[in-house]
């Protein structure tokens, strides 16, 4: 063994070696997570972009984004394999009567696009966001600013926390029993909004409570000392500063919940619907119609119809579009937060 040449001479000790191994393990765990995440993500992007993008101008598959789903027809015509959507095939048969006799294979939902699903999901997200934010922020204000911290309030908090642990399918059933059956709203946007909103409420309330608590006491006292009422203080001198935090967490929570299939399965989603949501006779019908939705559509095309290469296109295309929409919502919430933050910095 070499004698130490100076005071801080490096030594190989058991503790050092142990540390190396432990950190190597942590590093491996991190890379593994990264690898899995990237795997899922790249798989969807790779397969989905084949549906969503095209090689020739305009490079985006407009039909996929703007049309309703149709059945796909496959047949041989004059020695060539042809693929046609429902409407196109009917026009083709009208032009070539002989085509009616050709043997065809058909695949449901494998042609056309997913426009109604995009619309439905956006509507579901927006509506549940409005409901969850108004209910959640109000409840948080009450809990933080008005309620005395008694046993009842502690019970309410506990109940809210427990709500966060309820599986989404249970929320779906609750929404079904409550809104669809009991309130008689049927399978409708309204029922879906409330079911999703209730599901995301714990997130919104907790985020709002945290954000409200983070606003320094001095702002409240300063305002009250100027003769503001409690509500004026909250509205003008607390809520604006808490809003960035509330919005970011809530919108992210809602975006996540809007991706759930279970809660809308019984409450809001239709397998297929010909009319777009705004094609209603009376404006009030708008709230009482079911809609198609991206997550439910993925579920339907992945498990409810025979699988083949044609349905795979729709599955991955839909998943890809869905990811993009969720990413857009998240980006929007972060931009919004940054704007608000710049206005009210402390």
């Amino acid at each position: 063994m070499n004698p130490a040449t100076h005071l801080f001479q490096a030594k190989v000790s058991g503790a050092r070696r142990h540390e190396k191994w432990v950190f190597a393990l942590f590093r491996f765990a991190t890379y593994f997570v990264l690898f899995c995440g990237l795997g899922v993500f790249l798989n969807i992007v790779a397969k989905g972009s084949r549906t969503v993008f095209k090689a020739e101008a305009p490079f985006v598959n407009i039909a996929f984004l703007t049309q309703a789903p149709e059945s796909l027809y496959l047949f041989e015509w004059e020695g060539q394999k042809r693929e046609m959507g429902d409407r196109e095939f009917r026009a083709f048969k009208a032009a070539h009567p002989a085509a009616a006799q050709v043997p065809t294979e058909s695949y449901v939902y494998s042609a056309g696009g997913i426009f109604p699903c995009i619309v439905g999901t956006v509507l579901l997200v927006l509506g549940s966001m409005v409901i969850a934010l108004s209910l959640g922020v109000s409840a948080a204000i009450f809990l933080i600013e008005y309620a005395d911290d008694g046993p009842f309030i502690r019970f309410v908090r506990l109940a809210i926390l427990n709500l966060a642990g309820v599986p989404s399918i249970v929320f779906g059933l609750f929404g079904f029993g409550m809104f669809v059956i009991f309130f008689g709203w049927n399978v409708s946007l309204l029922a879906g909004w409330f079911t999703l909103a209730f599901m995301v409420l714990p997130v919104v309330i907790t985020a709002s409570e945290e954000s409200l608590k983070a606003v320094p006491k001095g702002f409240r006292e300063g305002s009250l000392a100027l003769g503001a009422t409690k509500w004026q203080t909250i509205r003008k001198n607390v809520l604006p500063y808490a809003l960035p935090g509330i919005l970011t967490s809530s919108v992210l929570g809602i975006a996540r919940v809007a991706g759930e299939t279970a809660p809308i399965m019984f409450t809001a989603a239709y397998v297929v619907r010909d009319k777009l949501p705004w094609e209603v006779d009376h404006w009030s019908d708008f709230f009482f119609q079911g809609v198609m939705a991206l997550p439910y559509h993925i579920y339907v095309v992945s498990s409810k119809i025979p699988q083949n290469e044609y349905t795979e296109r729709v599955q991955y295309g839909t998943a890809f579009v869905f990811l993009i929409i969720v990413a857009l919502i998240a980006t929007l919430s972060i931009v919004l937060r940054n704007n608000l933050r710049d206005r009210y910095k402390w």
Partner: protein
């Protein structure tokens, strides 16, 4: 003989100077604005104020001094009922009258009270809004919206707080961009914008450097002709420099209350003497 109707803070029906509440109180001399009479105050079970009697005179600077935890802030916050915000507090005995009106009686509107009795906090708390919005905050609450009027008051208040020249070119930038001393003067400007009669200051200079402190003290001298100022301070020199009257508190009791000159040169109570000469506290 009050300068304003005694119903100043009454929520609904006017409360006459001869109401039972004020008849029971000792005679109010004309210059007394705040009359604190045998006040006991509790935080839950702990008593913070014990039998405080003290009369604050109008348009004078009154200093509260005493060692930490002796109840100076508590008494100050009783005067605009900021203690109401803390759960479990109560003024269990005695009365506090402003203009002869008991501010703890049932029909007092605390909003009205706080408009009349402004407050500057130990930790300066400008709102994260522009300087202009900080000043107009209180005015907008009380329903004054005309732009020209607001501009005028912003200038007047900032001049009043000796801050105008330093910030007149950056009125629409955040109040948080100011230095510590400027922030505290902004808070003073914000308080005087709503034209209170009394300004309560709780150790307004404790977080400031000597130069900023000097400026705030100078400002207090300017303000004394128009406002009744009550200032809590840890700093004996500050009390000696700025105030007309000084109250010395110890362990929740008022030990001595006299002209500042007398407190510092000729205290009657040995505890006061020990404290002002720096032997404890």
């Amino acid at each position: 003989m009050t300068t304003r109707p005694p119903s100043a803070f009454a929520r609904s029906s006017a409360l006459s100077a001869n109401s039972p509440a004020s008849r029971l109180s000792p005679a109010v001399t004309p210059e007394v604005l705040v009359a604190i009479d045998h006040v006991d105050f509790f935080y839950g079970a702990t008593q913070a104020l014990n039998d405080i009697c003290l009369q604050v005179e109008a348009k004078r600077v009154t200093a509260f001094i005493g060692p930490s935890g002796c109840g100076k802030s508590t008494l100050l916050r009783c005067l605009n009922r900021m203690n109401d915000l803390i759960e479990g507090t109560r003024l269990s005995r005695g009365t506090i009258k402003i203009h002869g009106v008991d501010i703890y009686q049932r029909d007092v509107d605390v909003i009205e009270l706080r408009k009349r009795v402004g407050m500057v906090f130990q930790k300066s708390n400008p709102f994260p809004k522009s300087i202009y919005e900080n000043i107009t905050y209180g005015l907008l609450l009380h329903g004054r919206h005309e732009k020209k009027h607001l501009d005028e008051i912003v200038e007047r208040s900032l001049r009043g707080a000796a801050l105008w020249d330093e910030v007149k070119d950056r009125l629409h930038t955040s109040g948080l961009g100011l230095s510590g001393g400027q922030q505290q003067r902004l808070c003073i400007a914000r308080a005087i914008a709503v034209e209170p009669e009394v300004i309560l200051m709780d150790e307004p200079c404790s977080a400031l450097d000597p130069v900023a402190t000097a400026k705030v003290e100078e400002l207090i001298q300017d303000l004394r002709s128009r406002y009744t100022i009550i200032i809590v301070t840890h700093n004996m020199q500050q009390a000696a420099r700025c105030s007309d009257r000084t109250a010395f508190f110890y362990l929740g009791k008022l030990v001595e209350y006299a002209d500042t000159r007398d407190i510092f040169t000729n205290p009657t109570n040995p505890q006061t003497e020990a404290y002002v000469s720096g032997r404890f506290g």
